[in-house]
């Protein structure tokens, strides 16, 4: 199959896709790097030449930088904990034989197909609105004062919305992993005198280890870049300004392309550090 001719033909045919993808990635990356070293204020004089590392220094020394990093991490970790814990429980529930299993599984997966913008709007207007939202009605029904979710509890609200979106993904991956568990192992554990809770701890959880690592890895990469949910709900106010949202504000609200680009470069570095870190964990986990 792999003759010299077929190999060079394969390279030739793959070339357009590779060139396209490479261009798609390299052009924005190089432009970001380029702008990050220039003073570029589109509405206040345009491109004003080189500034060296000024933009980088300004971005990290700004009072908004560390809070933004912190916010990003809180959202990522919070969503990960909620989705993994609930995902494991839901996966075990869905693994049980029950009536209407197929329909239930599709319903559970459904939130993943809703666009982030749409789901954030639905949550904001349908559930969390302090006057007409379902939560407000529920609170009033029990005689409590409705909560203004997105201003008084902005971070928990955002974590809740994003968790709702990512829970199906975690559940789906964990469900397939649970289904691959040999039922004889659980029976053996039962014969060995392990009650249900210990069966979970000693058999099911180690079996899910690999799937959980993969869920954490993939979700972290996507969660570091969440934007639409924040843009639609709080607009970055009430302590919900993440790193990606800060970059957006620098570029579009402050009209400072240079400063925003420098932030973008930081975000690339941060994402890569996280990715390397996670890849090592996954690599270790996959070896065993």
């Amino acid at each position: 199959m792999a003759t010299k001719a077929s190999r060079s033909a394969a390279r030739l045919m793959m070339a357009p896709a590779v060139v396209l993808l490479l261009g798609w990635m390299l052009v924005p990356l190089i432009m970001t790097l380029w702008f990050s070293f220039r003073t570029y204020l589109p509405l206040r004089g345009g491109d004003q030449g080189w500034t060296g590392f000024d933009n980088y220094v300004r971005f990290v020394t700004s009072s908004a930088f560390w809070p933004a990093v912190q916010t990003t991490l809180i959202i990522v970790v919070g969503v990960l904990i909620i989705t993994v814990v609930l995902g494991v429980l839901l996966a075990m529930l869905l693994d049980q034989p029950m009536w209407g299993q197929g329909v239930v599984r599709i319903l559970v997966i459904a939130p993943f197909f809703v666009m982030p913008t749409v789901s954030a709007l639905v949550w904001k207007n349908m559930f969390m609105d302090p006057v007409n939202g379902l939560f407000a009605h529920l609170w009033r029904f029990f005689g409590a004062e409705p909560v203004s979710w997105l201003s008084d509890a902005a971070m928990p609200s955002i974590i809740m919305i994003v968790s709702w979106q990512w829970l199906p993904f975690a559940t789906l991956i964990l469900l397939t992993a649970i289904q691959s568990l040999d039922s004889e192992q659980l029976e053996a554990a039962e014969m060995d005198g392990a009650p249900k809770l210990k069966q979970f701890y000693y058999i099911i959880l180690p079996h899910l280890g690999r799937a959980i690592t993969i869920v954490i890895l993939i979700q972290t990469i996507f969660l570091l870049a969440i934007f639409a949910e924040i843009f639609v709900t709080t607009g970055g106010a009430f302590g919900t300004r993440t790193l990606s949202y800060l970059i957006f504000q620098r570029v579009l609200e402050s009209q400072n392309v240079g400063l925003g680009s420098a932030g973008g470069v930081y975000a690339i570095i941060l994402a890569n550090i996280v990715a390397i870190f996670l890849m090592r964990i996954v690599g270790k986990n996959l070896d065993n």
Partner: protein
Amino acid sequence: MGQIQLKQVTKSFGDVQVIPPLDLTIEDGEFTVFVGPSGCGKSTLLRLIAGLEDITTGHIEIDGTDATALVPAKRGLAMVFQSYALYPHMTVRKNIAFPLRMAKMDQAEIDKRVEGAASVLNLTDYLDRRPGQLSGGQRQRVAIGRAIVREPSAFLFDEPLSNLDAALRVGMRMEISELHKKLDTTMIYVTHDQVEAMTMADKIVVLQAGVIEQVGSPLELYRAPRNLFVAGFIGSPKMNLINGAEAGKHDATTIGIRPEHIDVVQSDGKWQGTVGVAEHLGSDTFFHIHNTGLAETLTVRAIGDVSLRHGDTIHLNPRLDEIHRFDAQGLRIA
């Protein structure tokens, strides 16, 4: 101690009764083999005894006390599964120690028992490996080790050798038999392979469609099969079953004769036919014989290497005192 008694036990899945009322007693220290074709309910029966399935009606008594409602762990039985069911993320040591840890046993005692089981099963060098790094036979031994350390009143084996290759199977067969002699504990062994049943069992229980066809020692079943099913199931190659006029001569509807009870003679045999396929095993030769006018094919064992070729005419003399006679219901005529 490990006497197990089943009293009028039945099992239904929905409307389908897979085990009609069944009585069986397994004596303490006995090696009992449940044998039957696949789907005959032998594994279900084992799982009922283990407690992994609930029985629909009836009682199970272990050592004289009713165990019908006990959970598996409380029955004092240990099971070796077909897939071994080892815990893949634990080392061999942890696998074997698992039931003891669950019983909250003292760590020193756990270590002692694990080392003991490992030396009995030749696993000492592998204690710190994971199941994934072991061969099939070694995994099998780990599964047995996990059962031994609990010092159960009976062992249950669910087709434990079916995932091993033929050579290893013979070896493990011996090892399990040795183990039974050494521990002198009740063992119940499920298999579809009648050779395993014949070689290992003190008592064989032949099952078909959830019904016990016959219970007895291997040689009892070989010498006096109670009906046609047992006659055809026990013994390898299968017993020749002959209907029609030849059977009529013996006042039976069907007669059966084992391949080893038909002698090949040079001429003037009582029966004759043409040689079909010959299987040369060295020590014996099995001939498949056609055109005898008795049955479609007749299997005959000849000692040593007999030089008859495909298409040759062969003369046969059945040993008349080895003929089994069965009536129209398929039951043995004494």
